[in-house]
């Protein structure tokens, strides 16, 4: 060791370091480091491989298993879910009954008829009711003439507005039932 700039001051420190080092090296040389290292290598080879293996593969394996379990659950739930009950014509008829073009008594008779004849009869009635509702709506729209150029929409009375809203809701409900988009059974 050479300590050019601090040589005179550093001599004691150098001597101390050298002494410490020599003692430690004597201790180190007495021990068979190579043999200890070989033992260490065998131990790490024996103990560490499962840990290393799990550390490396545990993540991907767990993720895959989780995804598979989730996918399986989703498939099973979808497969075994009770099919949504198709709305009967009676339900549709009752939904449409508040409309002006619909005859509840005729619908009741058609529903009572068995076989395809009754079904067709009731379907026809429902179709008629929807068509009549549409017609009424168009007529009402014609009646409410919007003055051109003014940009103003005529004001309707609250009662009238409620009536229009009600009809629209009735039709919407019936259409939802017919398209199987309703939670209503």
């Amino acid at each position: 060791m050479s300590h050019k700039p601090l040589d005179p001051d550093f001599q004691e420190i150098s001597a101390l370091l050298k002494k410490e080092e020599d003692e430690a090296l004597a201790f180190f040389r007495k021990r068979n480091f190579r043999a200890r290292l070989e033992v260490g290598l065998q131990e790490t080879a024996a103990v560490k491989w499962p840990a290393a293996f799990f550390r490396r593969f545990a993540g991907p394996v767990l993720t895959t298993v989780l995804v598979l379990v989730l996918a399986g659950t989703v498939i099973l739930v979808r497969k075994h879910r009770a099919p949504a009950a198709a709305p009967g014509f009676e339900t549709l008829a009752s939904a449409l009954s508040p409309l002006p073009g619909f005859t509840p008594s005729l619908a009741k008779e058609s529903a009572a008829m068995t076989g395809p004849a009754g079904t067709f009869e009731l379907a026809d009635l429902i179709g008629q009711a929807l068509a009549s509702a549409e017609k009424i709506k168009m007529e009402e729209e014609k009646r409410i003439s919007v003055p051109t150029g003014t940009g103003k929409v005529p004001r309707l009375s609250p009662g009238r507005r409620m009536e229009i809203l009600f009809k629209e809701k009735v039709i919407e409900r019936a259409l939802r039932l017919a398209t199987d988009d309703s939670k209503e059974v």
Partner: protein
């Protein structure tokens, strides 16, 4: 020492044997960081286990010593972070004092000074300490130090100079 290769590393088998020639250098560096021969030996073993595991990744065989000492330095710093070395260091200082018999006055004084030196090195800032340890214990040249620490030689020299001054200052304060 047995003639059998320490580890069958295929093409790197020669390197596996070659790194064994640096065991005392590694031990000295570990001693510098730990200041305890027993702990230094354990650290040295950790360093070799890591090195033998990664020896296949070493491209430049000429840089083997610097590579090995870098592993040693990182292993020691990791251990220091865990606070293990600090505790052992304190214990080793205590043991040094305890070992002194009443009949060996000169020895007692040397032990005391050594304990002061250890304390002075321990108090060095981390960056200065590692340069000091690698230089004084590992006997690395400035170029090797720069390579091991990834620093410029000028930086290494100035850090080492500051570290020495600081150690010397603390030792002198202890003396007075």
């Amino acid at each position: 020492m047995t003639a059998e290769p320490i580890m069958n590393t295929g093409e790197g088998a020669a390197s596996g044997e070659e790194i064994m020639t640096y065991q005392e250098d590694v031990f000295r560096v570990c001693l510098g960081f730990s200041r305890n021969p027993v702990e230094a030996e354990d650290l040295c073993q950790d360093v070799y286990l890591k090195a033998l595991r990664k020896i296949g990744t070493l491209q430049d065989r000429g840089a083997l010593k610097a590579w090995l000492l870098r592993i040693a330095r990182n292993t020691c710093l990791d251990q220091q972070k865990r606070g293990r070395l600090f505790r052992l260091f304190k214990r080793s200082v205590a043991r040094d004092d305890a070992r002194v018999g009443p009949a060996q006055e000169g020895e007692a004084s040397a032990r005391e000074r050594l304990a002061e030196l250890k304390e002075a090195v321990r108090r060095l800032p981390a960056k200065q300490r590692e340069v000091f340890v690698l230089r004084e214990y590992g006997h690395l040249s400035y170029a090797e130090l720069a390579g091991t620490l990834g620093l410029k030689q000028g930086t290494v020299m100035s850090r080492l100079s500051r570290a020495r001054k600081s150690v010397f200052g603390q030792m002198n304060r202890g003396k007075s």
